[in-house]
Amino acid sequence: MDTILRYELFNDFIKEFALKQVKPLATQIDEEERFPSETIEKMGKAGLLGIIIPKAYGGAGGDYKMYINAVREISSYCATTGAILSAHVSLCTAPIAELGSEEQKQKYLPKLANGEWLGAFGLTEPNAGTDASNQQTVAIEDGDSYILNGTKIFITNAGYAHVYLIFAMTDKSKGIKGITAFIVEADMPGFSVGKKEAKMGIRGSSTCELIMQNVRVPKANILGPVGEGFKVAMKTLDGGRIGIAAQALGIAEGALRETVNYVQERKQFGRPLSAFQNTQFQIADMATHIDAARLLVERAITSKEQKAKTLSKDAAMAKLFSSETAMMVTNKAVQLHGGYGYTREYAVERMMRDAKITEIYEGTSEVQRMVISAAVLR
């Protein structure tokens, strides 16, 4: 068994996949705001959607490091595709694999692994964004089921996903301890997808409202214990944030790659832009921030694998720094491209729009700072 070789093989594989299957569609799906179903199908066939699912449940039996590298490499060409993969794996597949009952794992994981079903996560509501504990969606016990009513917003993969991890209040009087996580399927009566958001970036991904009107969900679909849904959500987001950090890191790496090519080709005053000290210093700053972000992401992966107590803080630091790096690097990338960088002919224009969301979703940069400072000041 050769571990280093295994990662090398996987990295080669994912590089090839990103280059051949993801890159060619990146501009088009952004322009057309079109969900790349064909790529997702290919990802399912290649085993990428089930990368962290054990073989026993039809997955590829890979680890978190491979998954994170997949998100990063894919996002370096197309952040939309990275976002879809990240939401599917981090926010739906991973919590079912980690916290699900044997029955839930057998029912959901094989189809989530092969791409027959896509996964999503529904926590955010019109009045529960950063204040996620203020859940208005309610679940009322009725025999062997719960009846769910409420609305979720900004749900990634909505409309294309079949499996949704939905959070709802099972006991309002208990506040945070009254929230429960449910596995809801798209074809359950009363479940529907509402308005699709028109977004600044990651425009090929689907972001919609979810409406639940008297949706009957069997008790067998409760993920984790009743009343511990908020814990499930926070634990899921700890993992999810590493996924978003990887997405941000990928965007930054992609923007640097584009910029390095451009400044070596573009000539002004008879010299390539790369010969000017301003360019060199900008490139140095971009590369240094990217490397620092990569090291934070790697540390967060280790914390996750070792179930370290510092995971929440490490994941928050990785996400905070990587997403701000993505914003800084793409901004510099557009600047170094000059007027061309502002046009849609060059990928850096899209990358700058895509980068912004990484500072917002799965916990804004402000939330990350709350998590980090809470760990430091206690």
Binding site: R6, L9, D12, G47, G59, A60, G61, Q264
Partner: protein, 260 residues
Amino acid sequence: MKIIVCIKQVPNTTEIKIDPVTGTLNREGAVSIMNPDDKVGLEFALCLKDAHQAHITVVSMGPPQAKKVLYEALAMGADRAMLLTDRLFAGSDSLATSLTLAGLLKTLEYDLIITGRQAIDGDTAQVGPQIAEHLDIPQISYVNSLKFEDGYFIAVRQFEDRYQTLKATAPLLVTILGDAAKPRSLHVGRLIEATETESVELKGASDIIVDTTKLGLKGSPTKVKSTWNKVVDKQKNLLEVEPREAVKAIIDTMKKRHII
């Protein structure tokens, strides 16, 4: 049926960039891949395995890092993998390489040997045919399709202007064209599994049947005298004329240069 497929690890030349200052190849970050023609050759072997339950051995020669492409071959469906790696092999040209590979093949049983037509880093197309010569077995090069029927291999050989269908019995060596088939796509799970459960056998000069004086740089009659970058001289010819005349001038130039 016992099939041996020869594969080579090559730098992905389509990804290599030219350093704009020095004009040399920048190999840093270039991914090593299974030579595309060889991958199609492996696909041919896998199709024969699907239809006739063949046993596939993949062999390669190269530094220890070349294990990577052999694991990829195992993940695609090969049954056994062997890597010829030894300091004595360093600096081999196509003749020494083919002797070394033939030296290993002499220790193995086979009905069919498959090689790609040529490698993208050398483009010699010599190793496959030379192996057949060393082993003294028939060969069919430039194969576009291959079947096994009633004890015969039936190969369609592609020329620039025609096809030739040939029939041969085992043992046989074929070299496969890179566009003859699309290699099957890989499942990540198989890739991970291959590195967990399978292994690549390493073979050195003492494990094979070969005259060791003919190996490596010593055994290579091809000497590289010098290498240089081909400079393409872009000729600029600026005409400031009316559109109609400009079109005529462009067409005339293209005709003169036999482009149209």
